[in-house]
Subunit: 542 residues, 2 copies
């Protein structure tokens, strides 16, 4: 049952013998229909803002047509009455990311996608990552009072970004933004706070308490979203400051909460968020494992857009480096999956050692090897670097390089990721090998080569078939809650079902993190499929 | 249980071990309290507009204090959190009349009245009565499309009038309008339509269908009412175009719907509205009997304000006319009760005949009588008139007079009133003598002398103790729904319980109306207590 729907209805026209008021007449005619739909117990209301429109539409249609309702958990809101029951009833599903927005426009009658698109979260003007947004949102005012003018700015920016995307999608579907009659939003906790105009101040301050996890549904007009004013806005609930609705979406989309077998979901975005569980229990944690993989940290890092190096192979027989860029455009940087490929291949080619460092000296084993090293290895004022793509092949003539600093960030990210995964399974006494499926969400999941991630010791050494990419599951979850009431129920149930493991105060995590700062791991036996190159002479450079 | 209330509450502060989000924490703490109040089944929501305020208040108060909730029939809305639990939680009850507004400000904690006041409905600028307002609200636009610019104007005016009154009352209570956290409104169907900004077009057009009878609760901000934005606005439901929430208020205030004995309620405002019934059944009707009594029609008519002649006695022993004005101010006009007194006394003094006409000739029976007639009776171009107050005693030096035209209007009103009452009782086969109580509402009920109204044949000839004035029961009903949930339930139940008798298409009413156009009645036996002066020589003047 969709969040917004057009229900065919026919009422007896008024007469002197039956002088029921128009709106009461409409409600009375709707009642048996709702009963047939199994939702008779819900309060049926016409919001005062909708009264004139509903009444005019009902009269104009001659008391028969389609009543447009918002199907909320406990109430049915009548928001329009249309004569023509064939036009699509559109609603927009939105993945509200820290840097990017992605959305689809769905027809609520058929479930079909009418348009899809993406845009930038214009908030980036005021801070690239979550923390900087939080700090920008709430500052100390002159008298020590909190100054929330930043929050207002951020809210305006994100709403502006959403409006632009809505306008864009409506246009592509041959409609106007006012034709979008519902909106679902999936995003991290901070993005949702900023969208709602609620202070994110405590999200990043101990004990890390969000202001709200499960906001009640509201209307587009309440938030300034320029679609149908009374369109319901359904926000995927969060579980904690570092566990947002985007991951609940992931659980929904992957079906983790309905699986008999214990499975795992990994979502790497701004944070790495991981859920382990099945239909009986769910345990989750999140940590800052993402940045180096998301394109935000490495000097040449970028998102997986045109020109991003996404695959790398180093042929150690002929000492050739082969790469592929997104859309085969001239190289402009390197994305998360490219980075994992690159670092894994550098390790296998022994260009870096098991500590993730350039070794002090490498003895070339052939002429090609020497030429390769000479061309690729360099050193600037502070640290050594590796040339991934020489300047002659790049978009702007500058080489795409990976420095020791980038490598260090990457090592921290991969160590954090593995530490998160192991801490989580150890909490419930599950062994990795008991998992028959590990879902990997997001652009990360779509592009990475699990084999290379295993080589790095980022993810457990399991058969590659265990790993399954689930695409943008945040957006998929948003679509599901638009289309299905049981998914809306599930999203709320999941929230109640998930046990959240706070890593910020977890000693075990810190120990595991230290152990994971090697390739593949301090304990190579955990990664039997990965060659171990460890010897005493393996000294680091710099 | 008041519509708005402050509920004391204490929550466990957040910690790393308990990282429930603030709003969820608040809801969780409220849950057992609601259970104790017997309203556990209601949906508990924080409207998105209230999120920032509630969250900030909850934190600032250290997670303990008073949560302010709107107690709606199916949901509990959390709209504020205050630390200081001693200040009054104020709400305003409003009688929204066609020409006048009357309101009280109540403390929801105690039920005490904090201030009372009244004001003018500024809509009068655009039309004095209901019909002219309806015609002003919706006109034919250039292309035949309805032009609702008038409706928007009227809505603005009434909201402006309410805001002024709210400001006034808050000031008197030492508070600001934003401190008013709830509003109940009782008014006729048209006034409610105009307040809601919904078209009243069909109210005065066959088959006389209101757009809405029972609007769902909304918030002050939705209507532009400048009090606490999320204050719930509770509107007394209407039953039909000519039977508004003001009369439901009257039923509530008089307790007609809970009475074991069959009783009657008469409310004369712009219309005469009458309800007959008991706790098992209620039947109602309404008709245009009011204007002459309300001060709107008679040339010298006015409301019962300073200077209005409100009581009249004609001493036929000495042929003196004694009168009293409201506040003993110099006479400026005559109000409904004064008119009834006057016409009844004129009949008893045989200055007018049983047809309500000045006789062609009167034979004076004494010198005083002759002088009285000479001073008081006159004739202008069109018709004879009677001087109620000579110019030397009035506020502006012009005499207060009653012309034949005024008398005719009065006769129609009184005939309509009696016809309404008799039609109603005959419908259910009840005899007037079976009624142990007849409540008379409004200024009409407060000021009239039932004895004189009986003399005119306006109301049935019953013991005077049968009649009980219930004051401004429209306002009283509005107060009751603010204070008591059972009254809110009752107001909705009454709506469902009342059978509405449409007089516009009632043949019996027209016959009874004709029979009642005499003093006291065509059939004097219906009024044994009233002297009958009927003889053949009783010819009319003019």
């Amino acid at each position: 049952m969709p969040l917004v729907q057009a229900i065919p209805l026919e009422a007896v026209p008024p007469s002197l013998q039956d002088n029921t008021a128009d709106i009461d007449r409409l409600k009375l005619a709707l009642l048996p229909v709702l009963r047939n739909m199994g939702v008779a117990g819900r309060e049926c209301v016409v919001p005062v803002q909708s009264l004139p429109r509903v009444a005019a539409g009902f009269r104009a249609a001659g008391f028969r047509g389609d009543v447009v309702v918002n199907m909320l958990p406990r109430r049915v809101e009548i928001v329009d009455f249309v004569r023509d029951g064939t036009r699509p009833i559109m609603a927009m599903a939105l993945d509200l990311g820290t840097t990017h927005l992605e959305a689809t426009l769905l027809d609520m009658r058929t479930g079909n996608s009418l348009a899809a698109g993406h845009g930038v979260n214009q908030q980036v003007r005021f801070g690239g990552d979550i923390l900087s947004r939080i700090h920008f949102a709430v500052r100390s005012g002159p008298g020590g009072e909190p100054d929330i003018s930043g929050l207002e700015k951020l809210q305006r920016e994100v709403v502006g970004s959403i409006n632009q995307l809505a306008d864009d999608l409506a246009g592509r579907a041959g409609a106007r933004p006012e034709d979008i009659r519902g909106l679902s939003v999936s995003g991290n906790t901070t993005m949702i706070h900023l969208f709602l105009g609620t202070s994110p101040y405590h999200i990043c301050r101990e004990p890390y308490i969000p202001l709200v996890n499960a906001p009640d549904p509201c209307h587009a007009v309440d938030l300034g979203v320029a679609i149908f004013p009374m369109a319901p806005v359904w926000i995927l609930p969060s579980i904690g400051s570092y566990f947002g609705g985007d991951l609940i979406s992931g659980i929904l989309a992957s079906g983790l909460d309905e699986s008999a077998a214990t499975r795992m979901l990994i979502d790497v975005g701004t944070n790495a968020e991981v859920v382990l569980g099945n239909r009986d229990w769910l345990i989750a944690c999140a940590g800052a494992a993402g940045p180096a993989l998301e394109g935000g940290v490495a000097r040449m890092g970028m998102r997986a857009t045109a020109g991003a190096v996404e695959h790398v192979r180093i042929d150690t027989a002929n000492w050739q480096l082969n790469y592929r860029t997104v859309e085969n455009a001239p190289a402009a940087g390197i994305c998360g999956s490219g980075l994992i490929d690159l670092v894994a291949e550098m390790y296998l080619a022994r260009i870096i050692n098991f500590r993730g460092k350039f070794p002090a000296a490498v003895e070339p084993c052939s002429e090609e090897h020497r030429a390769f090293l000479e061309e690729r290895l360099g050193r600037d004022d502070t640290a050594p670097f590796f040339v991934v793509v020489p300047g002659r092949e790049t978009a702007d003539g500058a080489p795409v390089i990976l420095s020791q600093l980038d490598l260090d960030a990457m090592m921290r990210s991969k160590a954090a990721m593995y530490a998160i995964l192991t801490t989580l399974v150890s909490q419930v006494g599950v062994d990795f090998h008991e998992l028959d499926r590990i879902y990997v969400a997001g652009a990360f999941g779509k592009h990475i080569d699990p084999g290379h991630a295993i080589t790095l010791g980022m993810i457990p050494d399991l058969p590659l078939s265990t790993y399954e990419s689930v695409g943008n599951s945040s957006l998929r979850g948003a679509e599901l809650v638009l289309l299905s009431e049981s998914c809306r129920h599930r999203s709320r149930d999941i929230r109640r079902k998930v046990t959240y493991l706070e890593l910020n105060v977890n000693q075990e995590f810190m120990i595991r993190f230290s152990g994971a700062r090697f390739i593949p791991h301090t304990d190579p036996e955990l990664f039997p499929s990965v060659p171990s190159f460890r010897n005493g002479s393996d000294e680091d450079s710099a």
